[in-house]
């Protein structure tokens, strides 16, 4: 739920990083915190257990620039990835404007990824939000690991596409980040499908972290325009 404050001339939006446990959600926020100028970000808040596992959420506010005289403030949240914490995870989704699903590329985490994605759809549906119609990107993290699944397998499992029903949207839309791929396209069966924008990342070294953040923030602002 974005909030426009005409008194302080700010647009506030909420972005949630979702995904399986130990997938790199907190690492994404830590990298952003470490790299952006201190005057454009607030404090990084982590409600974590003693073993540094997220208990409730991590939170980082960042300013991404000014549009039409309004400062764009993004509140970045992560959720606890562990299955056990679903009640708290669901609370964080309240009023979300954009979602980043941080998938773990490791072959043996495929099932955990799918479970987390299903959980995301279910929790969003409980709030009455339709994930396929809001700013949503996927980040495949840990691309540097030797046991990383090929992107095409991850896409097939986590981002197979949803049916496009509005005829005005039934036109081939190329993926600006991956040459030769499309976000919206027609299948040989005649059905039109749309996939979420995806990014490859190695969050520990920061690769792809800002591309992901920029990607989702742009979608959020465009959804307000």
């Amino acid at each position: 739920m974005s909030m426009i404050n005409y008194a302080s001339r700010e647009i506030n939006c909420k972005i949630v990083y979702y995904g399986p446990g130990l997938g790199g959600k907190t690492t994404n926020l830590e990298h952003v915190y470490g790299k952006v100028a201190p005057d454009t970000r607030g404090k990084l808040i982590s409600l974590a257990t003693e073993t540094e596992r997220t208990l409730f959420f991590d939170f980082l506010p960042v300013d991404l620039g000014t549009i039409r005289g309004f400062k764009t403030r993004f509140h970045l949240y992560t959720v606890p990835g562990q299955v056990y914490y679903n009640a708290s995870r669901k609370l964080i989704l309240k009023g979300v404007d954009g979602i980043v699903f941080v998938g773990d590329s490791q072959l043996e985490r495929m099932e955990a990824n799918q479970e987390a994605m299903q959980n995301l759809y279910d929790n969003m549906a409980e709030y009455g939000y339709d994930l396929t119609k809001m700013p949503f990107v996927i980040q495949y993290n840990k691309r540097d690991l030797p046991n990383a699944s090929p992107i095409r397998d991850l896409q097939a499992a986590l981002n197979p596409g949803w049916e496009v029903t509005e005829s005005s949207r039934m036109r081939v839309t190329p993926d600006a980040y991956h040459a030769g791929e499309n976000l919206i396209e027609q299948l040989p069966t005649g059905e039109w499908i749309e996939r979420a924008q995806y990014f490859e990342a190695v969050a520990v070294s920061g690769d792809g972290v800002f591309d992901t953040l920029k990607g989702v923030s742009k979608l959020v602002l465009k959804s307000l325009a």
Binding site: M1, M3, A7, H75, D130, K222
Partner: protein, 162 residues
């Protein structure tokens, strides 16, 4: 199914009305500071002594605190807890729900008492509830027809992320 959470905005007039109500309340009960936070954790207004902590972080934790307590309320068969009280050795805080969308947080110390804060809070909560209901009714009525400050700003948005 709504596509996404609706956005809301408030004008400078709303802001003035909110701060006037809160300033009067602070004078009446001798509390230090009042903050208004929306349920998603965005800070709406701060009135009174300037807090010496990060207000954005404070707002986020307040919203999380309230949401977690709402769920606890449901577990024991209540709809919600409309107010919460956290007592410290020197500083305490009292939180109250406004129109199910905003939380009023009052920080106070031993210059006043919990009883006085609660007593003076009741009419303030009613007044703010009315005010915010007007804001939200207007937001719902204007949805789609209100002038959108970002309308046609696609190029500007693209430039921001180059």
């Amino acid at each position: 199914m709504p596509v996404r959470a609706a956005s809301w905005s408030f004008t400078e007039d709303d802001f003035r009305a909110i701060t006037t109500a809160l300033e009067r309340f602070l004078t009446d009960c001798n509390a230090r500071c009042a903050l208004l936070v929306d349920r998603t954790g965005q800070l709406v207004a701060t009135v009174g002594e300037r807090p010496n902590f990060d207000p954005t972080a404070f707002a986020t934790l307040t919203a999380a605190d309230f949401s977690a307590n709402d769920q606890l309320a449901k577990l024991i068969g209540e709809n919600d807890f409309s107010s919460l009280f956290h007592q410290g050795e020197k500083e305490s805080m009292y939180l109250a729900d406004i129109a199910r969308r905003v939380i009023l947080v009052v920080l106070f110390d031993n210059r006043t008492t919990l009883g006085l804060v609660r007593l003076k809070m009741r009419p303030t909560v009613l007044q703010l509830t009315e005010l915010f209901e007007q804001v939200f009714t207007r937001a719902a009525r204007d949805a789609g027809s209100a002038p959108n400050i970002l309308a046609g700003a696609d190029d500007e948005i693209d430039k921001l992320f180059q």
